[in-house]
Structure formats: C-alpha cells, structure tokens
C-alpha cells in the first residue's frame, strides 16, 4: 500500500513563528502536493512539485513556501505563522493509473496558530 506520512498529527504554534510541516512518501512518486482543508471550503491547493527541487504555486500560496530536496520528501513552510493559517494541512502524492492521476493522502496535520 502507498504510504504518505506526515510528521505531526497536531501542532500548536505562536503567531510569527516559522513552522515546518514534513511529508514523506514511500512509493517513489514524482508528484507531491500540499493542501489545506477548512470547513465549508473543501481542499485548496497550496503548492505542488513535479520533481526534486521543482515547485509550482497552487491556488493559495501566499504565506507559504515549500522545499523538495529529495524525491520522497516534501516540506511546507510557514515563514511567519498567522492565525488565519490555522487549518488542517494534507500532503498527497500521486501516481498515474490507467484511469487517471490518483492522489494518495497522508493523515493530515491539524495546525493551530495562537
């Protein structure tokens, strides 16, 4: 089974702190994604990466950056955390199947910024 592992299940941070969210996948997938999930809004794409050291902005990249130094690891960075970044963060990797590109998600990190 595909395994996407997010390093923290819950995080509590202070406003202005620099926050690192880590994600590792074990299936040698090239594509990796960071989403945030908020009630009533669905999943929104923050950043994605198609290869090592490559990154692309998603729909809501402001206030975030990412790092992909190794194929299996994709990190999301909140440079200076703010209260409106309190959310569930979901990492995903994808594989092309006969039907289409299938996303596999981690368990999520619930981040609270106080």
């Amino acid at each position: 089974d595909v395994k996407v592992t997010q390093s923290s299940r819950y995080l509590v941070k202070r406003t202005g702190e620099k926050v690192f969210l880590e994600c590792v996948q074990d299936m040698d997938h090239e594509n990796m994604f960071w989403y945030r999930q908020d009630p009533g809004l669905g999943l929104r794409l923050i950043y994605f990466s198609y290869d090592v050291k490559m990154k692309e902005k998603g729909d809501i990249p402001e206030g975030y950056s990412v790092s992909r130094e190794k194929k299996e690891r994709f990190s999301l960075i909140l440079e200076s955390a703010s209260t409106n970044q309190t959310s569930m963060y979901l990492c995903a990797s994808s594989a092309l199947t006969g039907a289409g590109e299938k996303l596999f998600f981690g368990s999520g990190t619930q981040l609270s910024v106080l």
Binding site: G42, A99, G108
Partner: protein
C-alpha cells in the same frame, strides 16, 4: 475558479439501506473524477474513480454514476454499514484536482 459542490452537507441512513451522495461539478472539460472517504482524524481515502468516457463504474458495494450532460456525479453505497460513517467528497480533474466540500454520512444502527 473551479467549483465542485455536494448537494447535502449531511445525510443519515439506516444500517442496511442504500446511500446516495451527490456532487455537481463545474468544468465540462474535466475528464477524471474520484470519490474520497474521510473518517474523523484521518486523511482522505480513495474509494472509486471514473473517467469521462464512462457513465458508470462499480466497485465493492460502491457505484459511481457520471452524467456529463448535467455535470453531475453520484456515489451509491449498497447495504450501508456503520463503518461507512464518514465525510465523502468528490474531486474533478482538469489540469489539477478540484474538490467538493463534503457530505457527512451517518449510519444509524
């Protein structure tokens, strides 16, 4: 931007009954659709997918129906069980994935 919507935020069904969860998508060019299940405290889990050149696909106890004319997707769960209680959301793919907001399914024993 894209808009993917689910018709009902909550749905309650009796154990053993069939469940139908609906989703409307906005982009007629979307060519691939996925249904996900998200249990409390867990990440979304793939249930079933369908390409736009199909109108029906069946899995184990689940069926996805696609109506491209009205841009509508539905997930049918047969003989719903307590373990099916979760949030279900659809996703459409056109260049990237766009997700619905989810329907919370509660199964009443």
């Amino acid at each position: 931007g894209e808009s993917v919507g689910l018709h009902l935020p909550t749905l309650s069904v009796q154990e053993g009954d069939n469940s139908i969860i609906n989703c409307a998508y906005s982009n007629s060019a979307s060519d691939y659709f996925i249904w996900y299940k998200q249990e409390s405290g867990k990440g979304p889990q793939f249930i079933i997918d369908i390409r736009s050149n199909m109108d029906k696909r069946q899995g184990q106890r689940v069926t996805v129906l696609l109506n491209k004319t009205v841009k509508h997707l539905s997930l049918q769960i047969a003989a719903t069980q307590p373990g099916d209680s979760a949030v279900y959301f659809c996703a459409e793919n056109f260049v990237q994935f766009y997700f619905g907001t989810g329907t919370s399914l509660t199964v009443i024993p």
